[in-house]
């Protein structure tokens, strides 16, 4: 697998997070002020679905223990102990394409 269509840009409202399934891989897509980003679906802390998280500007926050990241780079903010993994994304003709060459996973334990 490499570049795969995950959704249309219209499928994710501004400052929303939504999960999509592409084959066996679940991808979380974020629309941050019109820019699109894609991540594995779970929080790197304790596997809470990040689709329940919240976007404010370029900050993504997990609802469970409020870990925060820069949603564009995955870098930790304030209290998060590990970074967010990002897939490569491109938008072409209203379609969100994600590079699913390799499924990204967190090494929980």
């Amino acid at each position: 697998m490499s570049w795969r269509r995950v959704c249309a840009t219209d499928d994710v409202d501004e400052d929303e997070l939504r999960e999509f399934k592409v084959g066996d891989i679940t991808v979380l897509v974020a629309n941050a002020g019109g820019e699109f980003f894609a991540y594995p679906p779970f929080c790197p802390h304790q596997e809470t679905p990040l689709s329940l998280g919240m976007i404010d500007g370029d900050t993504l926050t997990c609802i469970k223990h409020l870990w925060q990241w820069n949603l564009k780079t995955g870098e930790t903010r304030e209290n998060a102990e590990s970074p967010l993994l990002l897939y490569e994304v491109k938008v072409e003709e209203g379609e969100v394409l994600v590079n699913l060459e390799k499924e990204l996973r967190y090494g929980y334990q």
Binding site: H45, Q46, E47, T48, L52, M54, I55, D56, T61, I63, K64, H65, L66, W67, Q68, E78, N79, E81, Y108, Q109
Partner: protein, 347 residues
């Protein structure tokens, strides 16, 4: 029994008694193992068994939805050890900071039960020996008559004390609350463990306080405001309490709320928010020191706090959907940083 814990930083060892929950043994030894509810619902205390055998305890615990049995994960707040064990915790863990009251098991007896409003009671518990706690903390409370322990927040602040007060709301078909509400339980023996919880007020805190409570979530706010008033917090800073319930008949401790509002009328404001039926003019007229509003408590808080968020420390407690909705509003509308938000989900 000896438990060794590998964490993402240091490793620790501690003793665990027969039948003692692994979480309790670690906390008792001064190791700040991760937990939130202490009662099997949130999944925050999950760990992995490396060597040795554990007994998982309550197998239907909702928090088990977060554990992966393939990785030998379990909930430390429910599990006991069958012998020496080596476990792993996927988090940074430190020793409990100095000055934080170390939790312990303590026995108690229900000294007095008082109805506050329909389905809400104040329960005073006389302890075998005095305990210390920080305002906002809770105890795990159990009785031999009901399996497992439930978390209840201290609703008074007095230290050190051999008497604790809780505000308990009846939950339909709830194991512990059905037992408590079924008849007069004065004199019944309880076993408690605590104090627990990090949604605390300490007098050195330089912030303005914003307390947002739903239903029985008022309990920890009572101890927080008691302590803050005692230390003169509102002489220099302001405070807001938002107390959300469904309807007028669900409001309780109105006299205490009025006393808070009368304490520093300019600086400490108390707003009662009704979600199902708008407050009547008579209610507002009968309690001129209180503010009343309609809707969800977090929405009312956002309205009344416009321009007042600077240097705020927010405290949240109540049913999980109410706490989650408030967290969203605090992060995305009020733009508080996570370190300025302390919460307990009454799950």
């Amino acid at each position: 029994m000896r438990i060794s814990v590998r964490t993402r930083g240091e490793s620790f060892e501690f003793d665990c008694a027969e039948g003692e929950k692994i979480l309790h043994a670690g906390l008792r030894a001064g190791i700040a193992l991760p937990y939130e509810c202490g009662s099997g619902t949130c999944g925050t205390c999950k760990a992995e068994v490396g060597r040795g055998e554990i007994d998982e305890g309550w197998l239907e615990a909702p928090g088990r939805a977060y554990v992966n049995p393939e990785r030998s994960e379990f909930l430390m707040c429910q599990a006991t050890a069958r012998g020496d064990c080596a476990i792993g915790v996927h988090a940074r863990v430190a020793r409990l900071a100095d000055g934080i009251p170390a939790p312990e098991a303590v026995a108690g007896r229900i000294a007095r039960v008082e109805g506050l409003t329909r389905g809400v009671r104040r329960v005073a518990v006389a302890l075998d020996r005095p305990v210390s706690f920080d305002a906002g903390q809770f105890m795990l409370v159990g009785t031999a008559a009901v399996a497992g322990r439930r978390a209840y927040s201290m609703a008074d602040y007095r230290l050190p004390t051999d008497r604790l007060a809780f505000v308990v709301k009846q939950v339909p078909e709830g194991g512990f609350t059905d037992w408590l509400f079924a008849e007069d339980r004065t004199g019944s023996e309880l076993d408690l463990f605590g104090p627990l919880g990090v949604a605390t007020y300490v007098p050195s805190l330089p912030n303005n306080l914003v307390c947002i409570a739903g239903g029985s979530g008022l309990a920890p706010m009572l101890s927080i405001l008691d302590h803050a008033i005692e230390t003169g917090h509102f002489e220099a800073r302001h405070g807001d309490l938002f107390f959300g319930v469904r309807a007028e008949r669900d409001i309780y401790l109105l006299d205490r709320l009025e006393a808070y509002a009368g304490h520093e009328p300019e600086r400490l404001r108390v707003t009662v928010v009704l979600s199902d039926v708008a407050p009547t003019a008579e209610l507002a007229a009968a309690h001129p020191q209180l503010r009343f509003d309609a809707g969800f408590v977090h929405e009312a808080a956002m309205r009344h706090m416009t321009g007042r968020w600077k240097s705020a420390m927010a405290y949240l407690a109540g049913p999980p959907p109410m706490v989650d909705a408030t967290l969203r509003a605090l992060v995305t509308e009020a733009r508080l940083t996570p370190s300025a938000i302390r919460y307990d989900k009454f799950s």
